[in-house]
């Protein structure tokens, strides 16, 4: 798994590439932008090939902590394989999902201004 972090309009974009499973999920949990509960981020999933339950658990856990402290985790560019995992686990209701990262950044900016 590769984690690439960029900044756009003051919003952190975390791009996940490759595979997230039991062996790589801890690395995802330790990532600063993801683990920081006060930071609103956009996770770009376009290049994520595989996501298992441990990876999904890491994403949901981080999103819950952010939500509790008033921040957000937005998901963008989810491919069909990854979307299927969210779909069958019924976790789609927990996230705001965008089909392009720029729209997610705009949304995150709006949320930040309204807070």
């Amino acid at each position: 798994m590769t984690i690439t972090e960029t900044l756009s309009s003051g919003i952190t974009i975390v791009e996940l590439c490759g595979t997230i499973d039991a062996s790589t999920a801890p690395e995802l949990q330790r990532h600063q932008a993801i683990s920081d509960p006060t930071q609103t981020i956009v996770i770009d999933l376009a290049r994520l090939d595989f996501l298992d339950s441990s990876g999904l658990g890491a994403i949901i856990g981080a999103a819950r902590r952010k939500e509790e402290s008033g921040a957000n985790m937005l998901l963008s560019c989810m491919n069909q394989k990854v979307r299927r995992v969210f779909d069958i686990t019924g976790t789609v209701r927990l996230f705001h999902i965008f089909d392009e990262t720029a729209a997610a950044i705009d949304y995150a900016t709006t949320l930040r201004k309204s807070q």
């Binding site: 069909q80 779909d87 069958i88 996230f95 089909d99 392009e100 729209a103 705009d106």
Partner: protein, 443 residues
């Protein structure tokens, strides 16, 4: 022009309770999945790209609709948040909506369209906003207008919320009465008001009164009366003498003999009154029951299991048959296709071992017969033609002590033909063998 179809779980939670195994978008409305009406309207409006959005699971819809190629469109899927309004939907699907005109169909609503009218003028209407709305949702135009594809003015578009069983039933009946003159409906119809699907068997003495819609793989047995205003789903059996009037029989349902169903929805073993919402789960499977889908794999598995059981019986009974058959033949006690009389010791042994059925066992190996099913050796097969008839060496009726008369036996056979499992058949074959000893040699 593109279409976003947005359905929230909260809008159709009541349908989830009624049909827990079916996604609300796949709930049949006059034998056509609900989602297809929405897709039809989008196509009539000139859309070739449609995205389905939901805050619930979409896998069942994806499996049914796939990529939309069967409608000549591109169908994609995404998710929405339960709190999303139309503006959020557009924002979250910005790449899909692009810069052109988008129709948003939101809510679990029925669109009153007419397939003969041209709705492509939706693309060129100057002002964006709702063109039709109801308490459960709306049809909304978003994005800038596109060049006009038609000179026709926009025909009226109605929107009816499908928010309970009563409205569902009313819309289904209205659609049935309107028929294929307005909607694209499944089935073949030799005359208006009657549509019949594939692989439908209708007895000569059954009556069909218009309007009626009958799905695929349906059997309507002698004396049954269908309609007026009856919607029969797929994989349904209407047994002898039953009447279905102003009712909806959903898929995979067995309606027993001499039942009168009027103004009801029947789904497997549940009978629902759409007016009051009262449901009644029938405990007697001979009256109302669910039907397991006849998967090809199950048919093959059943044949293999039956063939193995037949091979075992052939092996075990080969020596008694080799000894007793010539003996009984010589004494004139053996008649092909008839039971062996309990006249002496040899006859009693042959009868207890069911040797009269031994010559039929090779038929199971060739797949011509089943090890257990409907009886063939007493010329009853002619009365049992159809998908629930399984000509066999032993009869399901022989496993039941109470099935003494012909009609009792027919009920038992029909029930087990629809509900039995391949491994369950082996247990029932053993039961039939034991019963034959018991009833032939009562002591």
């Amino acid at each position: 022009m593109k279409t976003l179809i947005a359905i929230k779980e909260a809008d159709c939670a009541w349908m989830r309770e009624t049909l827990p195994d079916t996604h609300p978008l796949l709930a049949p409305l006059c034998n056509k999945p609900f989602v297809e009406y929405l897709i039809d309207f989008a196509i009539l409006a000139g859309c070739r790209e449609i995205r389905l959005l939901s805050d619930g699971p979409l896998s069942q819809i994806e499996e049914y609709c796939s990529n939309g190629s069967r409608w000549g469109i591109e169908l994609t899927y995404s998710n929405l948040h339960p709190s999303d309004e139309e503006q959020e939907l557009l924002r979250k699907n910005r790449k899909f909506c692009d810069t052109g005109r988008t129709i948003i169909l939101s809510g679990y609503n029925f669109i009153d369209y007419d397939k003969t009218l041209d709705y492509r003028s939706l693309a060129s209407i100057d002002s964006a906003g709702a063109i039709a709305s109801c308490p459960g949702g709306s049809i909304t135009l978003a994005g800038p207008p596109e060049p006009s594809l038609t000179d026709q003015p926009l025909p009226p578009v109605g929107l009816t919320p499908v928010d309970d069983l009563k409205s569902y039933c009313r819309i289904a009946m209205t659609t049935l009465e309107t028929g294929s003159s307005r909607y694209v409906l499944p089935g073949y119809g030799g005359e208006p008001g009657c549509a019949i699907g594939r692989n439908v068997t209708i007895s000569k003495t059954a009556q069909i009164h218009k309007p009626a819609s009958i799905g695929n793989n349906v059997r309507i047995l002698p004396g049954a009366v269908i309609g007026p205003s009856a919607i029969i789903g797929s994989n349904v059996i209407i047994d002898k003498g039953s009447t279905i009037k102003e009712s909806i029989i959903l898929d995979n349902t067995y309606i027993g003999e001499q039942l009168e169903i009027e103004g009801r929805i029947a789904s497997k073993n549940t009978l629902i009154d759409p007016e009051s919402g009262v449901t009644l789960a029938m405990q007697d499977p001979h009256l109302l029951a669910g039907i397991n889908g006849g998967a090809t794999a199950l048919v093959l598995w059943r044949k293999i299991v039956h063939a193995l059981a037949a091979a075992l019986l052939l092996l075990l009974l080969s020596i008694p048959f080799a000894i007793l058959y010539p003996l009984l033949r010589l004494r004139g006690k053996w008649q092909d296709g008839h039971s062996i009389p309990n006249a002496g010791l040899a006859e009693s042994i042959a009868s207890a071992l069911s040797l009269d059925r031994y010559p039929l066992l090779p038929g199971v190996l060739t797949g011509r017969l089943a090890i257990i099913g409907s009886r063939t050796h007493e010329n009853r097969a002619a009365n049992h033609a159809g998908t629930d008839c399984r000509p066999a060496v032993f009869s399901y009726a022989e496993t039941e002590a109470w099935a003494a008369t012909e009609s009792d036996a027919a009920i038992v056979e029909r029930y087990h033909a629809l509900h039995s499992t391949p491994l369950g058949d082996i247990g029932m074959t053993i039961q039939a063998l034991i019963n034959r000893i018991h009833y032939r040699n009562p002591t």
